[in-house]
Amino acid sequence: MNWHEYVAQTGQVPKWPYELGYDKETVISCDVLVVGGGVAGCRAAIAARQGGASVVVMDRGFSKRSGEGGAGVDHWHGAVTNPCSKVTPRMYSEAAMDTTDGFTNGLARYIIGKEGYDTLLEVEKMGVQIRDEDDEFKGSIFRDDETKLMFAYDIENKHCLRIYGYDIKPCVDREMRRLGAKVLDRTCVTSLLTEGGRQGARVIGATGVNDRTGEFVVVKAKAVVISAGRTNRLWGFAPELTESQSMCNLNQTALGNTIGWRAGAEFIGMEMSGRAVLSGLGYAPYSTGNNNNTYQGAPTVDRNGKDVYYANAYGKLLYDEADIFKASDEGSFIIGHGIGLDNGYKPQYRITTTDPELWKKVMAGEYQQPFYNDMTKLPATSRRMIFGLMLAHEGKCRVPIYKNFTQWGFDPDKDMLQYPVQDYSRFPIDTSWCGPENTPANWRGGGGGYLVDWRLQTSLPGLFAAGCGPIFGHGCHGESHTSGRYSGRQAALYAGQNDAVEPDAEQIRRERERCYAPIRTNGDVGWKELNYAIAKIMQDYCGDYKTEHTLDMGIRRMNDLFETEGQRMYASNPHELVRVIESLSLCELGIAYMEAAKARRGSVKGLGFFRNDYPEYDEAQKKHIPISLKDGKVHTRDLSLYYHLEAPYSSDLEENYQRYSQA
């Protein structure tokens, strides 16, 4: 029943159904607090419990289905130690560093390479199907008949696995609860507590607000894992936004990063921002014809049934299904997509894509729109693998695509799914539902994250990071399980070696005051209106055109918005109160992004970073510029892109892993 229908039928606006607790404060103590109960957070909690720690998980949603990975997954990256793989952890980490000119996370990619497959095997024990147990795909070129594992992207190197992950989140959630982690559902984190209330000190807990009751919660902990979401709603927001069109959801405001920024942690890669290649506002992900990612390998035809071919990285057309899943260079491997290597792959690591000359051929009249995804041309097993396995298990696809489409009679054995009619030359990497012309300024922001060491500990003692949002250059779904598991293990070790510290009462009091201001001030600005204004500032001042002067203006503008409209917010119930808290935090995060863009006085290709006042690509910019707040002032320094292989670390990946991974 819609709210409007209820009101129309009863003549009453429904009262808020949950008991209000704006004046309540709950205090809990534990060894390890996990902030964010997505797949990374659940895995961190499980690992910390296995390490003997008492664990509290603060989740913005409801942990059974929450987080970006809560809606499923169809393939697992970085399973490089599976028995069929020809890729090693070293090759995996080095390729990622090579293809980005060093602007990714060499140590996280190595950890993922070392532990990714083991992490998947644990998921299998928790009840997730990862093999073709029923021999449905027997004989397929994508399957190993002995292990029954199935491969995506690269059928020669076999390091990326297709899995039946639709119910992966309920499975890890069940395991987390079985092991006795205490879960605070519907609780939005609002701040980190630090020793003595000081910026830059050890992290000893966090505060949160419940979005149903409005209660305030204080969690004291010996160690904290941040496993919250990525940055959504900062560059791209419209009040009428339909989240069906996004791969991120509204809960993903990177609050886990903002609270660390406020607490004084160092961040890297924050200056990464630019045009988005994620789905825009036009089409639901995977809902129209396309041949990329989950649809990789699906044939394309034009209106008259004329074949469109795949091409390798050098434009050579491929006519055989098997060739679509092979690297373009002998001896190399396809890394795979959607894992945060957004600024282009070197040819040897690239996936195969649609004929790059297609648009020219359309303009010359050789092809006519619309195009169709014609899976009837595939062998039955390949077709079933795309639609019955991948589309039925990928995040946000089981119900909106598989169930919905089939309910309405779509049959991949008979039907061809139509591509949108649009300027094909503007399709990034064939993801048709991404056409930028369908999107009001849709931005990729938030590539950056906490600077982490070989323990995945941040620059603040006792604060660990896990998952896509908190860790710069990290990866996708499977990687989040792996970094979560690693980080939870490390946090439990830390908690075993460090005593609890009582938080500063004044820090807690001030935070409470801040959080509840919107219900006291009774202002006239709602969260959506503020959020829209924030996005406008980011688009205008931290978009394609960046100079010292305009970035300064953007920072001034954001401060002004925060101090003016931001102090006139209203919230008529706890749900809105939490949305207001999130939106206000985006002001702070936006400033952090603009400060980071300001701190990099030069353009650099690997990071996809361009400054109009320094238009030449600059070799000297091949470095990290960690940024943090110290006594409320912005502080930056230079750091090697290969810091994970320099003093105090060994120059060897494996040696570092051996030294830090277990102790």
Partner: protein, 113 residues
């Protein structure tokens, strides 16, 4: 304290502000609005209620129509933020909606009606 469950507003939350000391609830603004975004207050003499805030197209007809000069049009935050000017001789920056704004510029429009 009481909370109500109603949907979030979809656009700007306040498009008009009424000066309570001047408004007598004559509803001239309600009647002139081309988009009919307001309704009369059920209480006689009370200021009108803006129901469809996001439908306002900011024509200002209501402000013009008010016989007691009780109305101010409020542009959305996104636009207040992008309405920025620089005072040439001092280098100061101003915007619509700022705190401590400069004094109003009282120059009337050109024309003699």
């Amino acid at each position: 304290m009481v909370a109500y469950s109603h949907p979030s507003q979809s656009g700007p939350c306040r498009i008009l502000s009424f000066d309570k000391n001047k408004c007598v609830g004559c509803n001239s603004c309600v009647n002139v609005c081309p988009s009919d975004v307001m309704m009369p207050n059920p209480v006689r003499g009370g200021e009108p209620i803006v129901v469809f805030a996001e439908e306002c197209w900011y024509c200002g007809g209501c402000v013009e129509e008010c016989p007691r000069d009780a109305l101010t049009l409020v542009t959305p935050a996104k636009q207040r933020l992008s309405t920025v000017w620089l005072r040439k001789d001092t280098g100061e920056e101003f915007r619509v909606g700022m705190r401590n704004p400069p004094p109003p510029n009282l120059t009337p429009p050109s024309g003699n009606r």
